[in-house]
């Protein structure tokens, strides 16, 4: 688990080769990714131990419990020894649907995931991932199906993710290309602070606001 401080900064995203863990389910919602009782925390770190809490443990989890003393669900795939240390989550369509809680990407990242691959993502979750340096990759359903089959049949199955080239490469050498907005890509590659970027346009924001104050004064006190 990575220790993060509240003064969070996005780290530069480097290409890497990482172990893949498959969670074969569509429409995984943010309540499943990180149940609500853990949202009471006022910190942004430490959510990894409660990632997929209700599937991962057999006992009911509450904030402050010692994860090492809880009862793991042996049937949940992430609890299998072969997926320990996974950095890439492979899953199905509409991943991250439901609430806007950024705790969901925080939990995935804190657990050790750096990339989530799915045929599609929910909009808010997708956007939230980029803000913290977790890369959501959309691949076609046929590629996803094939990778699911390959992961299942080969222990230690890893993928190479190259953000600069926008590619995911399988151990067999198959190269899947993914799309990413150039602004988001640049932010991830360079670990840029979006607030800092926006504040470079302070004069434009002020000018916009002044015009708005003239045209729609009822919006201002």
């Amino acid at each position: 688990m990575r220790e993060q401080q509240n003064n969070f900064r996005v780290e530069k995203f480097h290409s890497f080769r990482g172990l893949v863990a498959p969670v074969d389910r569509a429409n995984i919602d943010t309540d499943a990714i990180i149940p609500k009782q853990f949202l009471k925390s006022i910190k942004r770190s430490g959510f990894g131990q409660n990632l997929f809490d209700e599937w991962r443990y057999l006992d009911h989890g509450e904030p402050g419990m010692d994860a090492s003393e809880r009862i793991l669900n042996p049937d949940f795939i992430l609890n299998q020894a072969r997926y320990r240390g996974a950095q890439i989550l492979l899953t199905r369509s509409n991943f991250g649907c439901g609430s806007s809680r950024e705790h969901a990407p925080w939990a995935l990242q804190d657990y050790g995931f750096r990339v989530v691959i799915a045929p599609s993502f929910a909009d808010i979750f997708f956007s939230n991932c980029f803000k913290i340096g977790l890369l959501p990759i959309v691949l076609g359903t046929s590629s996803i199906d094939r990778i699911f089959d390959e992961v299942d049949s080969a222990e230690g199955y890893s993928l190479t993710v190259n953000l600069e080239g926008q590619t995911v490469t399988t151990p067999g050498g198959e190269v899947c290309i993914f799309d990413i907005d150039s602004f988001r890509k640049n932010c991830l590659l360079n670990g840029l602070d979006e607030i800092g970027i926006t504040l470079q346009h302070t004069d434009k924001i002020i000018a916009f606001e002044q015009k708005r104050r003239m045209e729609q004064p009822w919006l201002f006190k």
């Binding site: 509240n6 003064n7 969070f8 074969d24 389910r25 569509a26 429409n27 919602d29 309540d31 499943a32 149940p35 609500k36 949202l39 009471k40 925390s41 006022i42 910190k43 942004r44 209700e54 009911h60 904030p63 402050g64 369509s93 509409n94 649907c97 439901g98 609430s99 806007s100 809680r101 950024e102 705790h103 990407p105 599609s120 993502f121 929910a122 909009d123 808010i124 956007s127 939230n128 803000k131 913290i132 907005d181 150039s182 602004f183 988001r184 979006e194 607030i195 926006t198 504040l199 346009h201 434009k204 924001i205 916009f208 606001e209 708005r212 729609q216 004064p217 009822w218 919006l219 006190k221």
Partner: protein, 470 residues
């Protein structure tokens, strides 16, 4: 060029565009920033650590809603973890000078009920909040959408957000709703049709005769559920209903400004002939009361329907999901919906806790009593002001006489962050918005319905067609 309402709102708030490509990122100005206790503490902390201040205090309105108890509040919050989160919001607002309705304030309530009720949500605004149900405010022709905590910090620090423009979807609902059929049923029928991912990448505009006939409360219910159909934003054009609702509310403009504002607001509709990327149509007269049977809002059918049979589904992923859902919900394929018995009833949430929702439920329970098998039936008004109005109308008496508990306002058992929750295996008819696994408590089983349908189920002990009760 003909513009959709979404085009107008987007263009009207664009400070600058990152690139000249139509699908590039743009900096969008935020008019109203609603804040609650769950998704804001890390944003305020981030702001403090980087030495930044909120850009515009008068744009922000804060209220604690997720963690607050719905029982007697004079002793504060018992759970220390919940208490710390609410105290942290109070402290942040006090330190920075942000307007906040505290837990004991009569105006306190669910952020998406409070904003419109105060007139803090006005047509043509961009409204953001660290909560996915911010889409609710689109009922006022706002561009309103949920954001994550990093974006909460971004909006606090810059009054803007970096966004990618969505595609535009029109959902056209013509005809008129039958008696006992509500906006909640329209919302669930739409989600049943397009799926929970159907609106991904889209901003939805709801239009058509059936939408124009809806009250503002009902429009809020519909836009609230846009996110359950995958769309970050849902919206409805301005008409007399919108303007009548806003007039006289505390944050609304008055006098000359009111005249100027309403003249502008009336332009907030899609131009005749504007084109949408996708159009979905429904006939309101064909919509029946809806009941969800599974663990996703798209797993929905009508009150006269049956639990579907996974063996009849070809798609393997979908079949697998249905099997999982039936197992979790403790239901068998082909079982009639009206033979599903309930343990608890929840009337509340940002979807259905406004005065009109409470009136509809009270009308059903008045002079009746909840069934013997119902362990708990509760009404949680959306705000202190909704509660007060309901009491003035005697709705609280109708509920209490029928065996319901009458609670203090908050999110309550919609997501069970406070003490209101289902125990494992308990089955609930709920007017909330999500039937996800564990949403209302670990192992709890949620069926989403309208307030009238929840009330009817409370009386019968199982789902019944509310149209047969009136």
């Amino acid at each position: 060029m003909m513009q959709t309402l979404y085009d107008k709102l987007w263009q009207g708030h664009t400070v600058y565009e990152e690139s000249d490509k139509p699908d590039g990122m743009a900096l969008i100005y935020v008019d109203r920033h609603l804040v609650h206790e769950v998704t804001s503490p890390q944003a305020f902390e981030g702001l403090r650590l980087s030495g930044r201040k909120p850009w515009r205090l008068d744009a922000i309105l804060a209220v604690a809603d997720h963690n607050v108890p719905t029982t007697e509040r004079s002793h504060g919050i018992a759970d220390p973890v919940s208490r710390l989160q609410v105290d942290t919001l109070d402290q942040n607002c006090e330190d920075l000078g942000i307007t906040e309705f505290k837990m004991t304030d009569s105006r306190q309530g669910i952020v998406h009920v409070v904003g419109p009720e105060q007139g803090a949500t006005l047509p043509g605004m961009t409204v953001v909040c660290g909560d996915s149900h911010t889409s609710t405010h689109g009922a006022f022709a706002c561009l309103a959408f949920g954001i994550g905590t990093s974006e909460v910090e971004h909006a606090l620090a810059t009054q803007c957000l970096l966004l990618k423009k969505a595609r535009a979807m029109q959902i056209l609902v013509e005809g008129s709703l039958g008696t006992g059929v509500t906006a909640k049923d329209i919302a669930l029928a739409i989600i049943g049709k397009i799926g929970t991912a159907g609106g991904n990448g889209y901003a939805i505009e709801f239009s058509g005769n059936a939408i124009r006939e809806l009250s503002m409360e009902a429009r809020m219910t519909l836009c609230n559920m846009a996110i359950e159909g995958g769309a970050r934003a849902g919206m409805i054009a301005v008409d007399d209903t919108t303007i009548d609702y806003i007039q006289g509310r505390p944050f609304a403009p008055r006098g000359d400004l009111w005249e100027r504002a309403t003249a502008y607001w009336r332009t907030l509709k899609s131009d005749e002939g504007a084109s949408f990327d996708r159009v979905v149509t429904l006939d309101a007269s064909q919509i029946k009361p809806q009941v969800t049977w599974g663990t996703s809002p798209e797993m929905v059918t009508t009150i006269d329907g049956r639990v579907p049979d996974p063996t009849e589904v070809d798609d393997a992923v979908k079949r697998h999901d249905m099997e999982n859902a039936l197992k979790y919900m403790g239901l068998t394929a082909n079982m009639p919906i009206n033979e599903i018995y309930l343990d608890k009833i929840f009337i509340g949430s940002c979807t259905n806790s406004r005065i009109e929702d409470l009136r509809a439920a009270a009308e059903v329970v008045k002079g009746r009593h909840i069934a013997a098998n119902i362990k708990l039936a509760m009404v949680v008004p959306g705000s202190g002001l909704v509660k007060r109005q309901a009491e003035e109308e005697g709705l609280d008496r109708a509920f209490k006489d029928a065996g319901f508990e009458w609670r203090e306002p908050g999110c309550s058992m919609c997501l069970a962050m406070n003490d209101d929750r289902l125990s494992a295996g308990e089955r609930c008819a709920s007017t909330s918005n999500r039937n996800f696994e564990g949403r209302q408590g670990p192992g709890g089983r949620t069926h989403l319905v309208s307030p009238a349908m929840a009330a009817a189920a409370a009386v019968a002990g199982h789902f019944v067609d509310v149209r047969e009760i009136y």
